[in-house]
Amino acid sequence: MKNKNAIGTWGGFVLILVWCLLPVAWIISLSFKSPDETAAGSPQFLPQDATLQNYKDILDNPDFLDALRNSFGISLIATVLSVIFATLAAYAIARLEFKGKRLVLSLALAIAMFPVVALVGPLFDMWRTFGLFNTWLGLIIPYMSFTLPLAIWTLTAFFREIPWEMEQAAQVDGATSWQAFRKVIVPLAAPGVFTAAILTFFFAWNEFVLAISLTSTTSSRTVPAQLSYFVGPDPFNPPYGQLATASVVVTVPIIVIVLLFQRKIVAGLTSGAVKG
């Protein structure tokens, strides 16, 4: 009985690893294949002649570099702003009694479930009127709106766990309220804020619908949108290798973040969603 369980667990373990890593391994393998190999129809998994040419080509491609810069800038700004506003809101929800608390949480939930495409038309029209079409700001504003719900929910869950009495205790011990806040609450809240920031960054880095609808040139087009336009000279024979390489390049930063902060991300994802 015990042995059977162990085999099942081990089998499951291997299954999960294969499931998660196989497509990634495939795209990495493709990125090292030469155009000859990808065009000739060679289905073998590993490249026969590994080459770095694709990486050279991609890193020399100005459109791709622009998109990479846009993605970083837009995601980073949206993350910082979104987390600041979400922190204020979550603090209020977790700590204060005020009317409309539930309303704010319900609104956030409704927006988290909103079909983004439904907003593309009117936003497209509005952004053209306000001159926000095809600008960084034109993407940052909607990214903030759509990441705020997740950030607010995650942070509220985190802030509820903070023993706020400690702040008073510090004040009784002679700290000013600002000192108490900075020395006691900020260190306790920091991990939650950081988690919310990672999740927000993921969302902005991944977002596609708005990125292709509200941009028209490489001055603001982000990586996911740029990738989808990256078909090369012959639309019937896309540059598999280069596409795969570009995919690897944009996935690497995310994987690094995941590796570094996996514990926090899991905590954030689950505490924001399920808290019984």
């Binding site: 999960i16 909103f114 989808s228």
Partner: protein, 320 residues
Amino acid sequence: MSTTVATPAAKDPQPGKPPKARMSDRANAENRLGLKLVAPAVIIMLVVTAWPMIQALYLSTFRYRLTSPDDKEFVGLGNYGTVLTDGLFWQDTWNTVLIMVITVSVELVIGFIFAMVMHRVIFARGVIRTSILIPYGTITVVSAFAWQFTFSINNGWVNSWFEWLPWIGPDTNWFGDHWPAMFAIMVSEIWKTTPFMSLLLLAGLSQVSEDMIEAAKVDGATWWQRLWKVILPNMRAAIMVAVLFRALDAFRIFDNIFVMTRGAQDTESSSFLTYRQVIEQLQLGLGSALSVLLFLSVLLLAFLIVKLFRVDLAQARGEG
């Protein structure tokens, strides 16, 4: 900063003021501060959702194409009539519902198995957690490409690895027909989002008390009975949240289809149809009608799922 106001001000009672009035003063101040702190977030959320939605309601009553803005003409509910009598709309709705039902069901099963394994695994927890976050962290567009190349007739490994299966030959063109293309799209969707599902289920699983499972074991319940009678009922809230989130997310499927088929072989989804009308054809009137219908569908769907599971969402999330 703002904490001073919020800190219970019990320290220095002001003489001459009845306690009750002081309490309500403080409550008022707290109320005001709370509203001030949530205001920026609420305003930003509304700017990009509520206002455009009102705009969409308004635009949907016009025949309005951006390429000929002077022909803008009030048509009342005409656009809705056009959409609802169009076969393409229903085909796309059917596709969307089908993708949602199949992917969420499969994800629920696989996600639960993964959650069970992760719950049991004691060694290498870090490894498994990190791996499971890789699909979650991968951009959907990238995962769509990875799977498109996987099923590619020229270079894909599916055709060469699974040749022995009766319906897969080396020259199977997955994107040449409706069902295989839908299959490929769903595989990509499932790969990308199962980890999210399994993490939510894992959180639910860890909240089921071991004592209850142990008690059932002592009473002679089989593994299967323990699963159905003890574990699953106690995870209802977690399962519901996972299904609700994933279903609504799957309902707006767009990226995968855009990259893998561009809607060819009748694989278009509702979101894709809306996008095409608005951005590619610049039919703002008709597109807005589609947007409103999409929004209403999501509302209906959320309502149905919450009713189905009979769980108070706020309660499930610890709102009390």
